[in-house]
């Protein structure tokens, strides 16, 4: 019953995403002269983002799948050649790191095909070229971790993740800024239409697989088969070459890297009770403090967990810079963007909750028995996870919305509304994250990325985004009254409407907060641990 409800929710979400993408792409397609070129540019940007996301995910995932997975101890000692083992594990890593991105792109790509009026051939092309594209991004990440494992000893390699993640994030940041999406919105900032068209026609970067993919699709849409085959062949050839090179590199250094990974640095002593432990305020009480301190210590000692902070920081920076650069010269546009800003912040908070709150229960792992056999109730455990997650999310939300509102120069009403909304959303999303995490625990997994990309993680994200969309829809009623009052110069506020909106919002938040927690509690209390 629950599974069917969640499946229906998932399908609903994808239909909703598809509908949104369809409306957006139709509007872009309708732009005179530059419409079709803008579409290609948007596709290129989407693919570029997907490429870097898969690359980042593959880098983190491959450390576990290739070097720390429990099954490797058995597999390495079978007669299976190390080259074959490495090749299979690499393909497995590619699937793990790319399936979620592919799923997220599907509604967008389907809308793309509909807007440009394409048939089965278009989707076939997307599927056929999608595989080498995803593989190339994954191979980049796998190659990176293989190289690092070869050059650095096992313990240090995980510390080096800091530099790697930072490099990838900076790269992503620069590419996105280099494409300057704000420019495309405003043709009038260009000195001449021709200059604008020339900018759109220029490929993003001729050496990036996302460009080949986008160019192949664009050529297919234009009917130039030769060009489509050229870019498609480039993608397939590069993927084959990457496979051959990776397997050759794996043959030389995979086993040595695996052996190094099994060695632990015993000399690395820590002071009794880390600073993380003492950092938790005393008013939480002894038991909550113990759990929070333990979670904090584990978080900052596990590179798989803290390295994601860098990714998050770069996404936040890109977002704030984009807001800063937006050309907003009309009151209406400013109002619209500041309203959408609440939704975007909600989206960021949902993503953060997926990365840091949803896995909280699962990360107890096989040590879950220590908590469950202790004299504290399951509710106390769930509340401690909630308390640990809600504070950072709320702070991030308030900072994001505060800085972006400052850039946008919004009026006091919107500032107050957005601050309050973000705080409420932070609490609800943290509760949802813990609840869904308890409902779909994965105590046996070896990598936090596997928890986030599990079916439960996807469902949490879908539900979280639906919640954000509903919140935004309800707030649209208030924003509308606020702006129309300003336009006509008299108050258009309606007391009953405001009361109804607030009542629905309270109900929505109560349901979104408590239902997953109650379901999660029920599931965990019955689960065999």
């Amino acid at each position: 019953m629950e599974a069917a409800a969640f499946a229906a929710l998932g399908i609903l979400f994808f239909v909703f995403l598809h509908w949104g993408a369809l409306r957006f792409l139709r509007a872009v397609h309708g732009v005179e002269l530059a419409g079709p070129l803008l579409l290609v540019k948007i596709l290129s940007m989407a693919l570029l983002t997907a490429f870097f996301m898969i690359l980042f995910s593959a880098t983190i995932t491959s450390f576990t799948t290739l070097f720390f997975a429990r099954d490797l101890a058995l597999l390495v000692h079978t007669p299976l050649p190390h080259r074959t083992l490495f090749a299979f594990k690499s393909l497995e890593t590619a699937v793990f790191s790319s399936w979620m991105m592919v799923l997220a792109l599907l509604p967008f790509l389907a809308a793309y095909g509909r807007v440009t009026g394409q048939g089965a051939g278009f989707y076939l092309l997307l599927a056929v070229l999608g595989m080498p594209f995803a593989w190339l991004a994954s191979a980049g990440g796998i190659g990176l971790s293989l190289g690092l494992m070869r050059v650095f000893p096992a313990r240090r390699v995980r510390d080096i993740m800091l530099a790697v993640a930072m490099g990838i994030c900076t790269g992503l940041f620069l590419w996105v800024r280099w494409l300057a999406p704000a420019k495309f919105l405003r043709a009038d900032t260009m000195s001449a239409t021709l200059e604008y068209i020339a900018l759109l026609e220029a490929p993003s970067s001729p050496w990036l697989p996302s460009t080949w993919y986008a160019q192949a699709v664009a050529a297919f849409l234009n009917g130039s088969a030769r060009e489509a085959v050229f870019y498609g062949a480039a993608l397939v050839f590069a993927a084959a070459l990457a496979f051959a090179l990776l397997v050759a590199a794996g043959e030389r250094s995979y086993y040595a890297g695996w052996v190094a990974a099994q060695e632990c640095d015993r000399r690395k002593k820590r002071r009794p009770l880390g600073a993380e432990w003492r950092g938790v305020p005393g008013f939480f009480g002894t038991r909550f403090r113990a759990i929070l301190g333990k979670d904090l210590a584990v978080f900052f000692r596990d590179p798989n967990q803290w390295s994601q902070l860098l990714m998050l920081a770069s996404v936040a920076a890109v977002y704030l810079l984009s807001i800063h650069k937006l050309p907003l010269d009309s009151r209406f546009l400013k109002g619209l963007v500041s309203f959408l800003n609440i939704g975007m912040t909600g989206f960021v908070l949902a993503s953060v909750a997926l990365r840091f709150v949803f896995p909280a229960v699962s990360l107890e792992g096989r040590s879950w028995w220590a908590l469950r056999s202790a004299p504290l109730s399951l509710w106390e455990i769930l509340w401690s996870k909630f308390l640990g997650g809600v504070a950072p999310i709320a702070v991030l939300g308030v900072v994001l919305v505060g800085v972006s509102n400052h850039f946008l120069g919004v009026d006091p009403f919107v500032t107050r509304l957005s601050n309050l909304t973000v705080l409420v959303m932070a609490v609800t999303l943290a509760g949802m994250g813990v609840g869904f995490g308890a409902l779909f625990p994965r105590f046996g997994v070896e990598n936090v990325a596997q928890i986030q990309t599990s079916a439960g993680g996807v469902l949490f994200m879908v539900t979280g985004l639906l919640y954000v969309a509903l919140t935004l829809a309800l707030e649209a009623v208030l924003m509308r009254m606020h702006y129309f009052s300003a336009v006509v110069g008299r108050s258009l506020w309606s007391g009953p409407v405001v009361a109804a909106v607030l009542a629905v919002m309270a109900l929505l938040n109560l349901l979104a907060f408590f239902l997953p927690l109650v379901w999660g509690h029920r599931h965990l209390s019955r689960a065999d641990v």
């Binding site: 632990c264 690395k268 009794p272 333990k294």
Partner: protein
Amino acid sequence: MIRAEGLTKRFGDVTAVDALDLDIAPGEIFGYLGPNGAGKTTTVKLLTGLLRPTAGRVFIGGHDVQADPRAAKKILGLVPDQPYVYPHLTGHEFLRFVGDLYEVDGGYQKKKIPELLEMFEIADRGDELVETFSHGMRQKLVLAGVLLHQPKVLFLDEPMVGLDPKSARLVKDIFQTLARRGVTLFMCTHVLEIAERLCHRVGIVERGRVTRAGTLAELRAQSSSGGSLEDVFLSLTGGDRDKDLLRALD
């Protein structure tokens, strides 16, 4: 001190524990023996409240484990079959974590934790991450954690696995001392010599049912073969049939 009434656990069509009745007195060491997959670990999970029974009730020190889990868990300690401990905590931190969960006084923890680490001979590694510990060291750490909060009832699921002979001897002495002080011990083990030497009573479980229970003398009387607990166990569980199979290998 430990009482189970009609304790049953079913996983779909499989009955892992079938109408188990137990009554173990304070200060008693009760050995729980059985072949692999007989339902020993499931029984421990049910008795410690890690698993909800399909039917029946469990009382620890008079507290119903399902109705009043906190009171029951406050006086029980668990050493699970696999000593999984947070790999990114140090040994010292894990003990502090356990002490805080059981609200053991801070001053007492400060004094007792180094003593326990010293006693189990892991003091020099106490400030290293648990991920660098061997299986035996983790087992010692879990045992130290259990002793820190001074439980009245102790559940031990294969407590000797991974311990070196010296540590195993130490642990056996600790168990006997605890029992003399009135602590009740429920111990699953495959090592029949340990059960024979330590346990006041023994229960033999097969396919989720306790088929025999009593002192070693009582079990000897029930089986066709006298002698050691191993002989009695094999005779009662039909293990001596394997002798014919082994002969076929020759």
